[in-house]
Symmetry: C2
Subunit: 401 residues, 2 copies
């Protein structure tokens, strides 16, 4: 098998952890597999580098920031190669520009255009383990670029796609994808399998196992993903197009997102174009709006409520305040004391009553629902933040017990 | 003018120092010069990285060590660029592979083959300050290489040679080249000028201002060097082919080297081929031999004494011990309690009695000379280590007072 294995920053944070991960890699190699490893920067390296930069220039160019930050993964791959050399393994490290991983020009948030396989194949053909820097690439003019949040997951999937790898394994602190956060929800279960679509919904809903971009890319190129633990040697959760037991499971996970705030635009005219004015203003400022609720007021006036990421609330609020005359509303309210709880499951499509079961669980627990949003494989509700943990638990009990 | 300016690790050790150096660079740029800057890794970065490696593998491959160590200069150039951006300067950083600085394949001690000027010229034509990583390059197959000791000086000279720069300025902790170590020798004087040849002798004799390789390259390509202080803004010492006052000065400097040990091979036969056997054995092990003295013993037997670098003494001793029967000697002695003191001066060529003056100074001070070695511009003597400081001072007094 050709395996691409990705290890995150906490898995390579110090010499001991690097040696343990080297052991995993060596075992996979000695089982006869071809192995390409993708690594993030060690533990706090990126933060340390950002701090160094901030001391000198609080607002450096993104180009130079990429030159600085890309050293983090380069250190990781060199050290990992040395650990494998110590074990007598044939190994070679490659940076983003050595592979090369070609990206567009967007420093700090670059998109991968292609991964060249020539050098990778050459090294694999020599039966070498190849250790590649995650998170970084090279632009068309030879500049160092970085991929932004979740970049190393994306690097791993891109390498796996280019090489037509049999599997892309994402090693993390947990041993797979759970039906809910196992540290917080009693009875949370590890899933053996999950679909790309479900994983994407969970990822975008705050389950921090895999970054959305990487799952999206895996789906597009049919890369079979596995999320597994770098601490315990056992199978993890398979992420793929179709899973076996989708009918029985109905839902595959429950996620909670606290980075949510609610804005209410109260007393707008009930006429065409009002909602357009509100959301165009926000879209122009690149603010993403999530759940939207339009309710009919008395007196022919409407209220428009919607959610944004909490860290974008102030910006959104200021924009709407400035456009009061243009939009025409009587009041503007904002609240940060809300959270979003979502159930995700490909089984919803073919099974009625999933949403009703969720609402029943909340009703039984006397938890009030502020807003509802649904997609083909997801139901999200907005709740008072203080109820969120309880809500996840009662919904989990309802579906899994 | 096109200036290449090199700053060492201690000049960029922290945020404050980087900002001060950025000030020097900006001033030179604003005076209308084109400026290319070559930087070393910050202060202890290289040692920190070596320590990280040692924790994982005490004997890593040189290839991976180069991948690791080259991150040090990359961090420096990114931070320096950010400091200049903060001052509103147009600036761009380039790594060894971005320039590219092409080297041979000898990881850890690579030799520069060529410096491509296309990208450098492009950036200079846009009136940008270019900040280049010292110490590193890229091999013909795209591997990261490092240049070994003194590598950043060599990088700077190579860049200056390729661009036909008007001057290559090496900024250091001291304000130039002195007739002797100013921290230790009373009356030591700063030189306004020195020839390449003299500088090379001083460099190889332990004056740590400039690395030998860089001076050699500067001489070969006619790059005018200047050694100056990154703390005080004043002219330093010019290093060039011919200097004005060579006749008057007679000697330009006195250097002391403690990294010397003496080996005596006692009681070898007085016949052809014996010295060959001794020194071929050492040459095969890449051990450099410096001063050699052959003395005639009684009974038709000879003694061969010579010096090696102190850190190679054990290796050299073991080799000769193992070849006792082959060489045929009665005894083998080693001593680390020796030091080499040398006077250097292009003026020696045309001025007799320089060596005699040196010996006179030592004789007056009752310092015993163990061995003597001379070249066209140098006289070295081997002394008891405990006398070395005094020897430098009395010689300096003799020539400069």
């Amino acid at each position: 098998m050709l395996l691409v294995q990705k290890f995150g920053g906490s898995s390579v944070a110090d010499a001991e952890k690097i040696k343990r991960v080297a052991g995993i890699i060596a075992d996979n190699y000695c089982d006869g597999n071809d192995v390409v490893v993708v690594l993030s920067a060690q533990g706090d390296t990126t933060d340390d580098l950002l701090e160094k930069a901030a001391e000198i220039n609080p607002n450096p160019s993104k180009r130079e920031l990429d030159v600085l930050l890309s050293t983090g993964e380069q250190i990781s791959v060199a050290l990992m190669s040395m650990a494998l050399e110590k074990m007598g393994m044939p190994v070679v490290s490659l940076t983003g520009w050595q592979v090369p991983v070609s990206t567009n020009f967007q420093h700090g948030n670059a998109r991968i255009r292609s991964v060249s396989t020539e050098r990778l194949r050459q090294e694999l053909d020599r039966r070498r383990i190849v250790i590649v820097t995650g998170f970084q690439g090279i632009s068309g003019t030879g500049e160092i670029t970085t991929l932004g949040r979740g970049g190393s997951d994306t690097s791993a999937v891109a390498v796996a796609a280019a090489l037509h790898a049999d599997k892309c394994q994402i090693y993390t602190d947990v041993d797979g994808v759970y039906t809910a956060d196992p540290r917080k929800v009693e009875g949370a279960r590890r899933l053996d399998e999950i679909t790309y679509d479900e994983m994407m919904e969970l990822a975008s809903l705050g389950a921090q196992v895999l970054h959305n971009r990487s799952v999206e890319m895996a789906k597009r190129y049919g890369v079979e993903l596995e999320v597994l633990s770098s601490y315990e040697r056992k199978p993890g959760t398979q992420v793929k197009e179709v899973v076996k037991n989708v009918e029985q499971m109905k839902i595959s996970g429950i996620a909670k997102d606290h980075n949510v705030a609610r804005i209410a635009v109260v007393g707008v005219k009930d006429e065409p174009g009002v909602a357009f004015k509100v959301f165009r203003s926000l879209a122009n400022a690149k603010i993403n709006v999530d759940i939207i609720l339009q309710s009919i007021d008395r007196n022919g006036l409407n209220d428009i409520s919607f959610t944004v990421a909490e860290d974008e609330l102030d910006k959104a609020f200021e924009i709407l305040k400035g456009r009061r005359d243009h939009i025409g509303y009587s009041d503007l309210f904002a609240s940060k004391n809300v959270a979003k709880v979502s159930i995700v499951g490909a089984g919803m499509l073919s099974s009625s009553g999933i949403a009703a079961t969720m609402f029943e669980a909340l009703s039984d627990a006397k938890i009030n629902i502020q807003m509802i949003s649904t997609s083909e494989i997801k139901v999200s509700v907005l709740l008072d933040e203080s109820c969120a943990d309880k809500a996840v638990q009662v919904i989990h009990n309802k579906f899994f017990n």
